[in-house]
Amino acid sequence: MSMITVEHLAVSYGSGDTLSRVVQDVSFEVARGEAFGLVGESGCGKSTVLGALAGRNKQWTGSIVIDGETIGQKRSKSQLAKQQMVFQDPFGSIHPRHTIGRTLLEPLEIHGKDRRQERVEKALSDVGLPQNFRYRFPHQLSGGQRQRVAIARALILEPSILLLDEPTSALDVSIQAEILNLLKDLRERETLTYILVSHDLAVVAHLCDRVAVMQDGGFVEIADKRQLTEDKVTHPYTRTLVDGSRGYVHHNLRADADHALSSLEQPPVRLTS
């Protein structure tokens, strides 16, 4: 059974003359317990899709069904608790003057949950942090530990979906590996559904079963893990991203630059399922 069904989603910002449609008609389905990836360059609308799913952006049209419930522009608290976000920069997404304990309590207070102390303790141990971190401030933590706090804060409401917006791109390679392993373990243990946004195809392919490649607000291709690792992607834009994740490609420079430009100018194919 599918956990998230999105049909003909279009999201815009602004109004009147400044209205811009950032996401144009995307449709996808994510099964329960699946990890679904969104990749693309900056400005392609991948974070905006997450924002609409999380309820941060209300200016959308189309239909979103989460766990069998059709979602409207207004959501109840229990609908909002169902999916939680983890942001890119752990330095910016945690209140600098609140202790970790207070940061973790806040969602519980907003949602009026009971057994708060118990839940905070569980959340900290779930992400592998010692209990005494409750009394620390964010500046006393390393980047990896802070990202663990951000994950704990997302998990504390016992969501069934985690929306991960570039969760490791501000971290060093070695710390990234720890966080990716943690996310993998959590998903297996709690049967969570993930939507992971990243610009790094290798990270997405590591964690996700299927990956949607976005360009200019639309999907150009939905590839599964096998296609990516066996190099069987079809769209030239996905090809460029796959090559890019391998590093620098030496070839005929002039031809290369022209090719890159022409593939950028190619209009994205709209996928409607």
């Binding site: 360059e41 590996a177 392993n181 620098y248 290369d256």
Partner: protein, 282 residues
């Protein structure tokens, strides 16, 4: 022509120390390396001293920092004893630096053309008119379409990739013999990154100059550079040809390689780096 083996830059036993209230922090400890007419990558995690090394070579460290070395020789200039006046003629003219994000490193209140021309006007004392012509041909070299128009744009009016190409043209216009690029493509998208790198590659190879490429991206350095220096906690733990990186010996280098998710070698769990206190001993 010069041979690859002629070193442009020789650094022996360099340390960079920062005195703080709670004692001296050694950011870089006893590093030695040479750079010839080649592309050398410096790799390390944040705080490993890779950027500090690059800046110390240009003598751009903060005033309170103390740089010690047995020898720091750039072509005919002894970087340890050169006066500030001598350094002014070296920086920009003979060693140039490309920084990470063009949004912050270009002057926001000057047009990009003026900023590029400034380098030639300062170092080569040419007329404005000639500087403009040189700038426009340099912009063409970095594959900017319609350079006449771009000349009069302000940095906020250009995209990230174009900004970085402008930065490259600014650094190369005075024909330096060494370029230090500090994370030049980290702020760029994948497709733009390829373009910027291929322009940089082409210019470095064509002019037969040296490049120090500071980065945290292993895959990128491996595929772009000839040689890789791996830094950990201010020390060089290993120097290896980029092609041999897979056979790296040092456990830190191996750990970094295994921690990297890869499309070619998918694995279920990533290896987590175990830091060994022994790596801190020389």
């Amino acid at each position: 022509m010069h041979k690859i083996s002629d070193p442009i830059l020789t650094v022996e036993n360099m340390s960079v120390e920062f005195p703080t209230l709670s004692g001296v922090v050694t950011a870089v400890r006893n590093v030695s390396f040479t750079v010839g007419r080649e592309k050398v990558g410096i790799i390390g995690e944040s705080g490993s001293g890779k950027s500090t090394t690059g800046r110390a070579v240009m003598r751009l460290q903060p005033p309170q920092a103390i740089v010690k070395a047995n020898r720091m020789q750039f072509e005919d200039v002894d970087l340890l004893t050169a006066t500030e006046d001598q350094m002014l003629s070296v920086r920009g003219r003979r060693i140039a630096m490309i920084l990470q994000d063009p949004k912050y490193s270009l002057n926001p209140v000057m047009t990009v053309g003026e900023q590029i021309s400034e380098t030639v006007i300062l170092h080569e004392k040419v007329s404005r008119k000639e500087a403009r012509a040189r700038t426009i041909s340099m912009l063409e070299r970095v594959k900017i379409r319609d350079p006449q128009r771009v000349f009069d744009l302000y940095p906020h009016e250009v995209s990230g990739g174009m900004g970085q190409r402008i930065m490259i043209s600014m650094m190369l216009i005075a024909s330096p013999s060494l370029i230090i690029a500090d994370e030049p493509t980290s702020a760029l998208d994948v497709t733009v990154r390829q373009q910027v790198l291929s322009i940089l590659d082409e210019l470095v190879v064509e002019r037969n100059i040296g490049l120090i490429f500071v980065s945290h991206d292993l895959n990128l350095v491996r595929s772009f550079c000839d040689r890789v220096i791996i830094m950990y906690a201010g020390r060089i733990v290993e120097t290896i040809a980029a092609a041999d990186l897979d056979n790296a010996q040092h456990p830190y280098t191996r750990g970094l390689l295994n921690a990297l998710p890869s499309l070619d070698h998918p694995r279920d769990r990533l290896e987590v780096l175990r830091r060994d206190p022994k790596w801190l001993e020389n």
